[in-house]
């Protein structure tokens, strides 16, 4: 699970960088955000 968490953190950091540079997100990015959000909500 920690491996999963590290990978997620890395991808999220990449997306944050894109947003900071005003770069538009791709479907893949949004799909990844959906995935992390599902994981978060399931943990609650």
């Amino acid at each position: 699970m920690s491996e999963l968490s590290t990978e997620i953190q890395q991808n999220l950091a990449d997306i944050q960088k894109k947003l900071a540079n005003n770069t538009v997100l791709t479907d893949e990015d949004l799909s990844f955000l959906l995935l992390t959000s599902l994981l978060e909500s399931e943990a609650q």
Partner: protein, 544 residues
């Protein structure tokens, strides 16, 4: 045939409320409906869901993350999204209002989208007014004005009425004394008293205690009570024994349902079962009372009610406001009458037991389900404000002015409303300034040679207006429903360029000013008799 995707990722109760909002749409051959749920909540309701929609797609999150590998999880989610998008939806409607659903709505390739979604900069976008209303008012405010089913119906555009044809009823009583959180659940010892009273007064009745497997121990605690031993043959534990569909079938012709606000109460509503519902803690009665007019709703009349889910409360004072004699009497009356109609609460219940509670009867009017007080006392401030807001929202969204009623209030409430009017006055002035500055931008932007400095100055003023709105909300929190709605609406205003955005913003500020003025006038009508009375009193004092 138009293909519609409906996103409901919340819990069981929200799914039942969503289904109720879809009543009648399946019979209309113009639409093909697909409901998207989380597997953990959609699975238990699968049979009931199939009565309302053509297709049911479940997001199985445990399966997606089954092996803890991101690559596999991404692949599985991508497969689910591909399956969804192969449907070629014309419209996707997000009824969930959370982060997860906003991404899902964005990733569904539908021609039109309602409810929360994201743009490519990950900003939240809400295009339709009803969803803006939910986001600004339901998620934050305690001034709920509509039942969630009506809100869902308004978002979807379904005007069908609920079928309430009378049925042949059994002598079964269904009780659900459990809830998803402690703050919503009335004490077990009080439930024991209510059950005792019902079984003793109605010798042919049978009580079924329903709930999930985790409720089994509490159910046993109830049935093992010494005062209930003599009725063991007529008190049946069904908690953890019946699945959701079986509970639904039991409720279909049950003579009475009594319970806390929960998924089971929504099943009772869907079956039009004569019901007595207890709304406690963070439950907002108008929002989640079962969608049926065969319901009596009891809630505490105490300042801290309703609280929020996040607020910590160990003493639960709102629970103590409702005593078991009140609930027993009402439950027995409903059982005797086989309906909630014609129950004269003030005749059957002593004043002493009514002091700390509100007793409402659900009824339908032109803008959906509403609560009618069964106790003839002056309306309290919160209730008055709730109904005033409902009146102006119905007027704003639907042009329906039939709910702009003048309530009966006390002098104390008149004082509160006077203060509220000061807040509305501030708000009105702020919105008029906003109209002025957006107009200035429009005029400048449309001129032959727009002056950028003039435009920038007006933009700065509009930013200051946003700060003024925040300050007004802090001083007069009761104006938040209006201020928040128009803030969210303005943030989502349509337009491709500065001219379009300014024009649309101006219209919105103009509407905000008008609606604020309408609410102010209504309040003025309510408090005017008190001002006259006060003037008379002062004159009498002078004469004396």
């Amino acid at each position: 045939m138009k293909k519609i995707a409906l996103i409901q990722l919340n819990r069981l109760g929200d799914i039942v409320q969503t289904l109720t909002a879809l009543e009648g749409l399946m019979d209309n051959n113009e639409y093909e409906l697909t409901l998207i749920t989380r597997a953990s909540f959609g699975q238990p309701l699968e049979k009931i869901i199939s009565q309302y929609v053509h297709k049911h797609i479940m997001l199985d999150i445990r399966d997606i993350f089954a092996d803890s590998k991101l690559e596999n999880a991404t692949h599985k989610l991508s497969q689910t999204l591909s399956a969804l998008n192969s449907q070629n939806f014309d419209l996707s409607i997000n009824l969930t209002f959370d982060k997860t659903s906003s991404y899902l709505n964005t990733l569904i390739n539908s021609r039109f989208k309602l409810g929360l979604q994201r743009n490519r900069l990950n900003e939240l976008v809400i295009n339709d007014s009803w969803s803006q209303y939910v986001y600004s008012n339901i998620m934050a405010s305690t001034y709920s004005t509509y039942n969630l089913v009506d809100i869902f119906k308004n978002i979807i555009g379904n005007k069908a009425n609920i079928d309430s044809t009378p049925k042949e009823l059994t002598n079964n009583i269904v009780i659900h004394p459990f809830a998803s959180m402690k703050k919503k659940q009335w004490q077990i010892s009080k439930w024991v008293e209510v059950i005792y009273s019902l079984l003793k007064s109605n010798p042919s009745s049978k009580i079924h205690l329903v709930g999930g497997s985790p409720d089994l121990e509490s159910a046993k605690l109830i049935t093992s009570s010494p005062i209930l031993k003599q009725f063991s043959e007529r008190l049946i534990i069904q908690a953890g024994q019946l699945n959701v569909t079986e509970v639904d079938e039991l409720l279909y012709n049950a003579r009475l349902f009594v319970g806390n606000d929960s998924m089971v109460s929504h099943l009772a509503g869907r079956n039009n079962t004569p019901s007595l519902i207890l709304s406690l803690g963070p439950v907002r009665p108008i929002e989640t009372t079962p969608y049926s007019d065969n319901v009596i709703n009891v809630s505490p009349n105490i300042g801290c009610f309703p609280c929020t889910v996040e607020e910590k409360c160990d003493l639960l004072p709102c629970h103590n406001k409702i005593n078991h004699q009140l609930v027993s009497t009402l439950a027995n009356e409903i059982y005797k009458n086989k309906s909630t109609v014609d129950i004269n609460v003030e005749r059957v219940i002593p004043d002493l037991h009514l002091m700390g509670v509100n007793v409402f009867k659900n009824e339908f009017n032109s803008d959906g389900l509403s609560l009618k007080s069964l106790i003839s006392r002056k309306d309290d401030y919160k209730f008055v404000l709730q109904n005033l807001y409902r009146g102006i929202w119905s007027f704003y969204f639907k042009g329906d002015d039939s709910n702009l009623n003048t309530p009966s209030i006390s002098e104390e409430t008149a004082g509160f409303i006077g203060n509220f009017m000061d807040g509305l006055n501030n708000l009105f002035e702020i919105y008029n300034f906003a109209v002025k500055y957006t107009n200035r931008i429009c005029v400048e932007a449309e001129s032959q040679e727009p002056n950028l400095q003039t435009i920038n100055e007006s933009v700065t003023r509009l930013r200051e207006i946003d700060s003024l709105l925040q300050a007004t909300k802090r001083t007069f929190p009761e104006v938040s429903p209006l201020a928040d709605f128009f803030y969210v609406a303005k943030s989502n205003v349509a337009g491709e360029n500065i001219q379009e955005v300014s024009k649309n913003s101006q219209v919105l500020y103009y509407e905000a000013a008008n609606l604020t003025a309408a609410l102010f006038d209504l309040c003025n009508q309510i408090v005017t008799p008190f001002i006259k009375d006060q003037t008379k009193d002062e004159q009498h004092a002078k004469d004396a």
